[in-house]
């Protein structure tokens, strides 16, 4: 499968952040402080949105920057913008924390959303798709849109969503899969 390099026109801020991140990757802690100053409000907003609790969000934000510090070298600025990567790391750390609050469901419940380093190198952004996401999300049926947003932003799983809407698990899965296929079709148009 080919991934188009995308017609990404990096803004000045994005280029500056990429430069800072490259310094962070070399272990420059002053660059890290600079990165934090410029991005922490956005990332704290994401942690708060997911967790809905300040002290939990503060913990998730700390974990986010520790993961960024450790994995900055794996991030590929040619594939995605730095702020998107940072936002995704904060989302994942917040979701991990959300999941760890739940009653344990065996070992896998403690597992992380995705490996930080692998994601840093594989995150791909397509600027044209980015512009269309809002439109394409709007084109979905309401329950599909709702379910996708809930999974991404509230950490809802298939079984959470099925329970919430009072439908069988299989029904929820096929709704969402249809929604995802439609979303992909719309974005690639």
């Amino acid at each position: 499968m080919d991934f188009p390099a995308g017609a990404r026109t990096a803004s000045d801020e994005s280029r500056r952040l990429a430069g800072t991140l490259a310094e962070v990757a070399r272990g420059d802690s002053a660059a890290m402080a600079d990165l934090y100053a410029r991005t922490s409000a956005k990332l704290f907003g994401i942690c708060l949105r997911v967790l809905g609790n300040r002290s939990e969000a503060e913990e998730a934000l700390q974990e986010t920057y520790v993961a960024v510090w450790r994995n900055a070298a794996a991030f590929d600025a040619a594939r995605a913008s730095p702020i998107t990567w940072l936002a995704i790391v904060s989302r994942n750390k917040a979701i991990d924390r959300l999941r760890s609050r739940r009653p344990a469901q065996g070992l896998e419940a403690a597992a992380e959303v995705a490996d930080d380093r692998a994601l840093a190198s594989e995150l791909i952004e397509d600027e044209q798709e980015r512009g269309r996401l809002t439109t394409c999300i709007e084109e979905l049926e309401e329950r599909q849109r709702d379910a996708i947003r809930s999974a991404f932003l509230d950490g809802a799983t298939y079984s959470d969503l099925a329970e919430r809407d009072g439908v069988p698990l299989g029904t929820m899965k096929s709704w969402i899969r249809r929604g995802l296929l439609r979303l992909r079709g719309c974005l690639e148009r």
Binding site: A41, R91, A111, L119, R149, F152, L181
Partner: protein
């Protein structure tokens, strides 16, 4: 199939899966680069949803907490990590050696043929960068038996099998068999392979379609490898 895999990648990126389904997707994420790319693409696609969160300044003291956590560790720490890793490996190796010994005992207690002289088994620690998979393989030359003990990170993935390969000096992988997650298992090394094994082959584990590679050569990613050596 392509669509199924892409849907699984989307579900994994969204965090919709639980239990065994999640474990399977996670194993694929760890072992399959094309799946990782799909997850990366879906994550990038969905990322704009995060723009709806309102920025909020974190409390001023938070940075100093982060700064403490990212402070350069003392120079000795790498050595400590290595030492810990080594003792962990020794633990795996001891367990695998004990297992090989018990199998050897089983072999020597059979009435015939005459028991071969016990010789220290050869051991390979198998792992790979970027993969959580670890295995310990022990080879007993006298009985031509290879015992493979999965130590960590090998999960069953529907539609996939883990296949073991022996790579002698000629560089051409020979299929040794399917490795099941969990329990250690014994494999017979064919007599014609015995000299190569005695000289120290490289063992590798790859992810293949269910039942093993259709071509007789590895087709999927290698998630662990290591060279068989005398202890």
């Amino acid at each position: 199939m392509t669509d199924d895999l892409d849907m699984l990648a989307a579900e994994y990126a969204l965090g919709l899966l639980e239990g065994e389904e999640r474990a399977e997707a996670h194993a694929l994420f760890e072992s399959d680069e094309s799946f990782r790319r799909r997850v990366g693409a879906w994550t990038g696609r969905l990322a704009p949803l995060l723009d709806e969160a309102e920025p909020q300044a974190p409390p001023a003291e938070l940075w100093s907490k982060i700064e403490r956590r990212i402070a350069p560790p003392p120079a000795a720490s790498n050595v400590v990590v290595l030492r810990r890793k080594l003792s962990l490996w020794r633990g795996y190796a001891a367990a695998a050696t004990a297992l090989a010994a018990s199998l050897a005992l089983f072999l020597v207690t059979r009435p015939e043929p005459a028991p071969p002289r016990a010789e220290a088994p050869m051991v390979a620690m198998m792992e790979a960068a970027g993969s959580g998979a670890k295995l310990v393989a022990t080879y007993d030359a006298a009985s031509r038996s290879l015992v493979v003990a999965p130590a960590a990170g090998i999960t069953r993935v529907a539609g996939h099998s883990h296949e073991l390969w022996a790579i002698p000096a000629d560089g051409k992988p020979r299929p040794m068999g399917i490795v099941r997650p969990g329990a250690p298992q014994r494999m017979d090394v064919p007599p014609e392979m015995a000299p190569a094994f005695a000289g120290g082959v490289t063992l590798a584990l790859s992810v293949e379609p269910e039942g093993g590679s259709p071509t007789g050569q590895p087709t999927g990613p290698v998630i662990a490898s290591g060279r068989l050596a005398r202890t």
